[in-house]
C-alpha cells in the first residue's frame, strides 16, 4: 500500500491516510479481503505516530470500509458496497470545490465549467476507446 504524506499541507495526517486509502479502494488497488499493513509497520514506514495510523484505521472501520479481525489485523471489507455512493460523492465534492474555486479566480462562469467537464469527458472516452 503506497501512501504519500505531506506534513505541512494543513490536512491532518490521519485524514490524508483515510483519503488515500479511499482512493486506493475506489481505484481497485486495494481489493476486498486484502490486508492493510499492521499499524506499527505503517507507522514505521511513514515515520509517523502509530496512534495516528490507529485513528485513520478506526475512521475507515467506522465507515465500513475495513474490518478489524480480533488479533489478526485489518482487512478491506468483503462486501463490494465498500464505498457508499454518498461517500464517493463526498470525495468528489472536495475536488469539485477546488475546481469551482479555481474557476471563480479565473472568472469562468459555472455554465462554461460544466461545458468544459462534458468536453473533457468526451475526449477521455474517445481516448479510452482507442
Amino acid at each position: 500500500m503506497q501512501l504519500h504524506l505531506s506534513p505541512g499541507d494543513g490536512l491532518p495526517i490521519y485524514r490524508q491516510i483515510v483519503n488515500q486509502v479511499k482512493y486506493l479502494l475506489a481505484a481497485g488497488r486495494l481489493g476486498p479481503g486484502e490486508e492493510l499493513p499492521p499499524i506499527r509497520t505503517l507507522a514505521d514506514q511513514l515515520l509517523i505516530n502509530p496512534n495516528t495510523v490507529a485513528r485513520a484505521y478506526l475512521e475507515l472501520e467506522r465507515a465500513g470500509l475495513v474490518t478489524k479481525r480480533q488479533g489478526a489485523g485489518t482487512y478491506v471489507s468483503e462486501t463490494r458496497s465498500t464505498l457508499k455512493r454518498t461517500e464517493r460523492l463526498r470525495l468528489l465534492a472536495e475536488r469539485a470545490d477546488a475546481l469551482l474555486a479555481e474557476a471563480r479566480h479565473l472568472e469562468i462562469e459555472l455554465g462554461d465549467v460544466l461545458e468544459l467537464i462534458r468536453e473533457r469527458s468526451k475526449t477521455m472516452q474517445t481516448q479510452e476507446a482507442k
Partner: protein
Amino acid sequence: MTSPTPSASEPVISLTGLTRRFRTKVALDNVSLDVTRGQVFGLVGANGAGKTTLIKHLLGLYAPAQGSVRVFGLDPIAEPASVLGRIGFLSEDRDLPPWMRVEELVRYTAAFYPKWDPAYAAHLQEEFQLDSRARIRHLSRGELAKAGLLLALAHRPELLVLDEPSSGLDPLVRREVLEAIVRTVADEGRTVFFSSHLLDEIERVSDQIAMMAHGRIVLRGGLADLLEAHHRLTLRFDQPVTQPPRLAGALSIRGSGMEWTAVCNGALAELEAAATRLGARVVAEETATLEEIFLARVGRVGSTPQPTEG
C-alpha cells in the same frame, strides 16, 4: 500497560500554573498542561520561547517559583531518583563527557539505571554505527545526538524527554531521531515529550501539541483537532481596501487591494457570514497549515490586539 504506576488516566506529566522568572525576564508564565500515558506531546516554539526552561522543571533541575510540577504523580525535586530513573532524556546541548570513550560512557550510564537493557544498548549502538572505542570529543554532531539517544533509550524509560532532538542535524540523523520516537510510543504505550521548532516533525509524530511564545502557552490541544479547527480564507472585495479588514474570528490577515487572506479559528459558516457582513466574497477556503497557525497565534502575542469586526 504493565507498569504499576501511574494508572492510564493519571497524567504522566502535570504542570499547573508554572511560573519562572530570571531576574526581570519572565521565562515561564502560568504554564499548565497535562500529558497522558502513551501520548507523543510536541512543544512548539521559537528559540527563547521557554521550552528548555519548561523541560528543566520536568527533570527537577529547576524548582518552580510558582505553581507545581508533577511527573508520574511525583515532585521531581522531592523525589529525583524515583522520577529520573524512569525518564530518558536527550538535552539540546548533548552535554556528554568529552574525555570518555563510547563504551565507557555506556557502562557509566548503565550503572545509574536498574532497568538498563544491555542487549538493547548493543543493538542501538550497532544500528547507530557508533564505534565503542571512539572518544566523545571526536564524535560528529550526528553521532553525538545518536550517542545521547542511545543513553536515553537503553533503559526503556516510561517517559522519553527530548529537547530539540533534531536541532542542527542532517536529514538522515533526523530520521533516526524520529524513528526512535515512533518506536518508543509503539512500544507498550510509552510516553514522549519533545520540543522542536521544526513544524514538519512536530506534525509527523505528535498527538498533542502546545505552542509557546514568550513563556506562555498560546495554543494547545490535539494536533488533528487544531488543524481541522483552523481555516485559511481568502476574501475578495469589490473595491480595494486600504486597511486590513477586521474579520471576526481571524487570527491574522494579510493582503492588499481587493484580496485578503485570513487565518481563522472557528466554524466555517460563521466565518463566511462574517465575511459577507464585511461585503466580501470568500474565494478560497482551505485548512490552515500548522505553520500558518503558529505564525498567526504567535504573532498575536504581545503585539496588536486581535482584530474584531468593525
